[in-house]
Structure formats: structure tokens, C-alpha cells
């Protein structure tokens, strides 16, 4: 058994601290996670027209994401098939294609190799151009959110998102659709890529303490939480984790609580739209619309619905990430509401954000204390609510009945270990029936199975 197979104790909700530090683990993550999972690329609204493109990262691979003539979207690696040079240094634009700055090989907007200068005169051995296009990734969209995947064997994006779709649909779809306001802010954080992801997936616990100062000075319905003065009451929220490690936490009715001078305007907007959503989805899910959702899509994509921030955490070695931040707005909002949300979102969760910076020290130190040999031999704990997780007929995924708990941590790391262990996606698929057992324990799982059978 390799030393990588026991990084996570799925049943007891603990993880080796070395997962934030060890370079060998990181290399395995690149291979088994980032080269195999669906990774966020862009929102379709950033590349509406034929020839529009953005460049971004898939793990540490640089990719171009481009709108095709037929309206589809392709993604391909930003490295020339000749000697490897980057073919596009811009972050975004509209192009007919990409010309390599070294020898001028040119690629179409679909990444296919179109021209090699003086090909006829100089290439005696015919180079098969059809085999020298830029390396393609699979691309699929969900409600305009575009993801890419390097593994042909991976499930479809929809299957990969799985139970999460039921929660995403509320704001991505039932609202009439959303879009991301770019360009993203981009900044370094000296932390492991999993530290913000686990936090967004399932950490309502830190809000009152980490963000004590921000909560205190930004007046709003959550100010009372500052310094853990009070606990959200029972029934205030919910946590969910899913098949492929995605997690979501819900704080009911708290939607735009951190949106500062935009709170009232947003509440008013939501109040007007809520009836429409309720008609579409029923009361249970419509309540999510006005709630605050924190969430991560495995492996490195997070969002806050309510605070309207959308994040991608690109890894740069085990101890550093690049954070990408966009604002989420509803498509049918008036321009000044979109602008206001964007302005306030950056003020709270952007690079100069009053809440964002509170988190930095935590994430950086929890990464770098593990330089210590004895330190990194220790374990991390995510046992809050352990034993209380369950399957609910009305709520997809495994559910924790509390606004605050670590259900999503456990679910995130369960899948993390599963996919690290898997030689191929078939190994993952083999667990489809019983994936939740380690989270629930045999007994609860048995009940869950029975309930499902019934």
C-alpha cells in the first residue's frame, strides 16, 4: 500500500497535515486530480462572439478557451507543437487564430495547425498538420459555466457535478441565468490550493471568528455573529456534500448580508424575483435563492452565492496558489445593480477585500507550519457533526443538519482520497453505489440504502 493511500481517514474525518506540504503528494495531485477532473475555465458570457477567447490555467497547464464559429467552445494548451513556445500571451481578445512568436506556426481559433511558414519549400518529410494541433481538452458547459477536462475517460460534466446540479440550478438557472463580471482579479496566496477550497466548501464555523472585524464594521444582518457573540439558531442552515467531493453550505435568508451599501437594493431585487422562482422550483429550493450559499466544486472552484463571488484557485506548487475572482450577477439585473454588486464584492472578497484578507493568514500558516518535520506528522480534524450526517429524500447528497459543521470537509477529502487512489475513472465508478458509506458509517448507510430501495 503506497504512502498516499492513507492520507485521509474517511470514516473519522481526519487528514494528514502533509497534504498541504509534501511535493510528492502534489505531483500525484497534478496527475490524478488536475489531469482527470473537470476544471473551471470561464463563463460563456466572457466569450460571446466567434473568435473571442480567454486564457487561463488548468492545474499548472496554460490553456486557451475560444468560441468557435458554430458557437461551441474549445480549449487547448497554450504551447506550440513545434518547440513548445506559448502561442498566446494575451489574457483575452478576439482572434482569427494564434501565431507562434518563435517561427510563426499558426493555429486556427479551433487550435488546429493551419500554417507553417514556407512549409512547401522547407519540409521535405511531410509533417501531418492534422496531428500537430494544440493539445485539446474536453469542454462542456453547465448553464453557461464552462469547464474543461483532460481525461477522455472522465464522466460528463453533468454526471461529474451530480447532485450539486440540484443546488446550482436555483441561482444559475431559475433566476433566468447569471453571468460573471470580469476581468477577474488575480493574486498570489502562499497557501496550498486545498485550503481555500475546503473553506468555501464547508466552513461556516470560521465566519464569526475569522471575520470578527469585518462583520463588526460592515453593518448588516450578520454583524451579530462578530466574535462568535451568537450562534445561528437550529435550522438556520444546512450542509451538503456529494459524490465527487463538491460541497455546499446554506445559511437561510442571509443572502446579501455582507453586501454593505448594496444590501437593501439586493434584498428588494430578490423579493421581486422570488415568486417566479418559487413557481418554478417550489418553496424549499426558492428559499435557497435568498439564502447565502458557500460552495466548492471539486477540486479548486468555489463560489459564494449571496456575496456573489466566484473563485478559481490555481495551484502553483504545494505552497502557493493564484486566486481568480469574478463577480456573479443575474443577467436581467439593471446595469447599475450589476456594477454595484461588482464594486461591493471586490470590496469584501476581492484582492483588497475586507473579508478576503482575514482568511489569508489562516490559509498561509496552515500550509507553511508544515515545513516543520514534527508538525507535518500530525493530523487535521474535521469531525464537527460527525455521526449526524444522513441521506435525505428531499435533498440530494449527504446532508448535515446544521448551518455549521464539517460535513463538506469530510465529503471533500473522501473523494480526494478516492481519486488519488484510483488508477482510472473506472476505479471511481466502481464505488458509485456505496460512495457514501465511509461518511455515514455502515449502520446509517444501511438505512440510507433501504430508504433508497423503498
Amino acid at each position: 500500500m503506497s504512502k498516499f493511500e492513507t492520507l485521509v481517514d474517511m470514516r473519522n474525518g481526519t487528514q494528514q497535515k502533509s497534504v498541504f506540504y509534501d511535493r510528492d503528494i502534489y505531483e500525484l495531485e497534478l496527475e490524478r486530480i488536475f489531469a482527470r477532473c473537470w476544471l473551471f475555465l470561464t463563463h460563456e458570457s466572457a466569450i460571446p462572439n466567434f473568435g473571442d477567447f480567454v486564457t487561463t490555467k488548468m492545474g499548472e497547464d496554460e490553456v486557451i478557451v475560444a468560441r468557435q464559429k458554430d458557437g461551441s467552445i474549445k480549449a487547448f494548451i497554450n504551447s506550440c507543437q513545434h518547440r513548445g513556445t506559448q502561442v498566446c500571451p494575451a489574457e483575452a481578445g478576439n482572434a482569427k487564430g494564434f501565431v507562434c512568436s518563435y517561427h510563426g506556426w499558426s493555429y486556427g481559433i479551433d487550435g488546429k495547425l493551419e500554417n507553417m511558414p514556407f512549409e512547401k519549400e522547407l519540409y521535405k518529410c511531410k509533417v501531418d498538420k492534422s496531428k500537430h494541433g494544440l493539445v485539446q481538452a474536453r469542454v462542456e458547459s453547465y448553464h453557461g459555466f464552462v469547464y474543461g477536462c483532460f481525461d477522455d475517460d472522465a464522466p460528463s460534466l453533468e454526471d461529474y457535478l451530480g447532485e450539486m446540479k440540484w443546488y446550482l440550478d436555483v441561482w444559475m438557472d431559475a433566476t433566468g441565468g447569471v453571468e460573471l463580471i470580469g476581468p477577474p482579479s488575480r493574486s498570489i496566496l502562499n497557501c496550498n490550493w486545498k485550503t481555500p477550497t475546503e473553506n468555501f466548501a464547508g466552513d461556516a464555523y470560521h465566519v464569526g471568528w475569522t471575520h470578527a472585524a469585518g462583520l463588526k464594521v460592515m453593518p448588516g444582518p450578520l454583524s451579530v455573529l462578530s466574535g462568535n457573540a451568537v450562534l445561528p439558531p437550529t435550522g438556520a442552515g444546512l450542509q451538503v456534500t456529494t459524490r465527487h467531493g463538491h460541497g455546499v453550505g446554506i445559511l437561510y435568508d442571509a443572502g446579501p448580508a455582507l453586501m454593505s451599501d448594496m444590501i437593501e437594493e439586493i434584498f428588494a431585487w430578490q423579493a421581486r424575483k422570488k415568486p417566479v422562482i418559487e413557481k418554478k422550483l417550489g418553496a424549499l429550493r426558492a428559499r435557497f435563492y435568498g439564502s447565502h450559499l458557500n460552495s466548492s466544486i471539486f477540486p479548486n472552484n468555489s463560489f459564494l452565492w449571496g456575496t456573489n463571488t466566484f473563485k478559481m484557485w490555481a495551484p502553483r506548487g504545494p505552497g502557493q496558489i493564484e486566486a481568480f475572482t469574478w463577480a456573479i450577477v443575474e443577467k436581467d439585473m439593471p446595469a447599475d445593480l450589476k456594477e454595484g454588486i461588482t464594486r461591493v464584492m471586490h470590496r469584501t472578497f476581492g484582492t483588497a477585500g475586507m473579508f478576503e484578507a482575514d482568511d489569508s493568514d489562516n490559509m498561509e500558516t496552515m500550509t507553511h507550519v508544515n515545513r516543520g518535520f514534527v508538525t507535518r506528522k500530525g493530523k487535521m480534524n474535521s469531525q464537527m457533526g460527525l455521526g449526524g450526517d444522513r441521506v435525505d429524500p428531499d435533498l440530494p447528497g449527504v446532508v448535515g443538519d446544521s448551518a455549521i459543521g464539517e460535513t463538506s470537509y469530510r465529503g471533500y477529502y473522501r473523494f480526494y482520497q478516492e481519486i488519488l487512489n484510483a488508477k482510472t475513472w473506472d476505479d471511481v465508478r466502481a464505488n458509485n453505489a456505496d460512495w457514501f458509506v465511509p461518511l455515514l458509517g455502515e449502520q446509517t448507510a444501511e438505512e440510507a440504502r433501504k430508504a433508497a430501495a423503498a
Binding site: A46, N49, G51, D52, P89, A90, E91, A92, G93, N94, A95, I181, G182, P183, P184, S185, R186, S187, I188, L189, N190, T210, A212, A213, G214, K216, V217, M218, S226, G227, S260, D261, E322, T342, R343, H346, R347, G350, T351, A352, G353, M354, E356, A357, D358, S360, D361, E364
Partner: protein, 181 residues
């Protein structure tokens, strides 16, 4: 956003004595901000109608004009109230990240001053390197260009009416910009 640090339409260079006054203003500002006197800065140096913005630009080819998505992201886009909250946060006593206190040092240089068309306002260019020391091991260096507009108050003293920071480093390497630039 105005193209920062390009000459204003009718650039009338200010007198050296006005430029010196402006420079002294910026030095004082830097000193207040680096000695935990943000409230004094807020009260005595800001104009109540201030617009305080910090902008990064997405990298685009200078030839591609067909792509029409916005190319600016504003890390700050604050009015006097938003700045007030930022000062409040620093003074809250429960901002864990600033205890032990951080140490800032500003190098403010290349101060140029121009008379603005709008009578009395002064348009000011400056370049800044700021280094933030915190914890035992963290020293982050920031650099940026500023275009400010200053206006005299009733007492004759200059106040900051506009700050426009062009943050040229596309990916912010100092991990956050939670300070006054």
C-alpha cells in the same frame, strides 16, 4: 477611468511652490498611513467627495479591437463611507491579521503637479513603492503609479478628491492590497 499618468488635456505645470506643497502633502499622508494614524488621515486629508480607485487591467493585444468586454477590475472603488469602514476595521481591535501590528514604508517619488481645467484643482502624478513588513518573515513589496486630484477646502488646505491607482503588475504578488495605496 482616465488614462493615468498621461498629461491632462491642457497640462499647465504647477508652480514649484505648489508642487512642493503637494509633495509635502503626499509625504505627510504616507507618514500617517505608516504610523497607525489612518483616522487622522481620513479626517484631515480626504475630501468628503473623494473617489478612491485602484485598477488592474487585463492584458490584451494592442491590436485586437474586436473584443469588447470590460478590461478593468477595480480592487478599490470607494467613496468616503467605504473608506470610513476600512479605517473602522483597522481600529476595531479584533482584526487578528494586524496584531502584532504591520509596518509599512512608502517611497513616494516623481511627484508632478498640474493645474486642472476646473479652477483650483491640482492634478498630481506620483510613483510609489510600498513595502509591508508583517509577522517575522513577510515582506511584500508593491509598486504603482497614481494620478490624484486635490482640491482646497475652505481652510485653504489641500484635500484628496480623487485617487486613481494604476496597478501594473497583473497578478498581485503581494497577496492582498488591504492597505491604503
Amino acid at each position: 477611468m482616465t488614462e493615468v499618468t498621461t498629461p491632462a488635456p491642457s497640462p499647465v505645470r504647477a508652480s514649484e511652490s505648489l508642487r512642493s506643497e503637494v509633495e509635502a502633502f503626499l509625504y505627510l499622508e504616507a507618514r500617517l498611513l505608516s504610523t497607525a494614524q489612518e483616522r487622522l488621515w481620513y479626517t484631515q486629508m480626504l475630501h468628503p467627495e473623494i473617489r478612491y480607485r485602484v485598477c488592474s487591467r487585463q492584458l490584451r493585444s494592442s491590436k485586437s479591437k474586436r473584443y469588447d468586454q470590460p478590461n478593468e477590475v477595480f480592487h478599490f472603488d470607494d467613496d468616503i463611507n467605504a473608506l470610513d469602514k476600512r479605517v473602522d476595521q483597522i481600529e476595531s481591535g479584533i482584526q487578528w491579521r494586524s496584531d502584532p501590528p504591520e509596518t509599512l514604508m512608502y517611497i513616494v517619488s516623481n511627484v508632478e503637479a498640474f493645474e486642472d481645467e476646473q479652477g483650483g484643482d491640482v492634478r498630481v502624478y506620483s510613483n510609489v513603492i510600498m513595502i509591508r513588513d508583517r509577522r517575522v518573515y513577510e515582506s511584500d513589496q508593491y509598486h504603482y503609479r497614481r494620478e490624484d486630484v486635490m482640491r482646497r477646502g475652505d481652510d485653504g488646505a489641500l484635500r484628496l478628491l480623487e485617487r486613481n491607482v494604476v496597478y501594473g503588475q497583473r497578478m498581485v504578488q503581494g497577496k492582498n492590497l488591504l492597505f491604503f495605496l
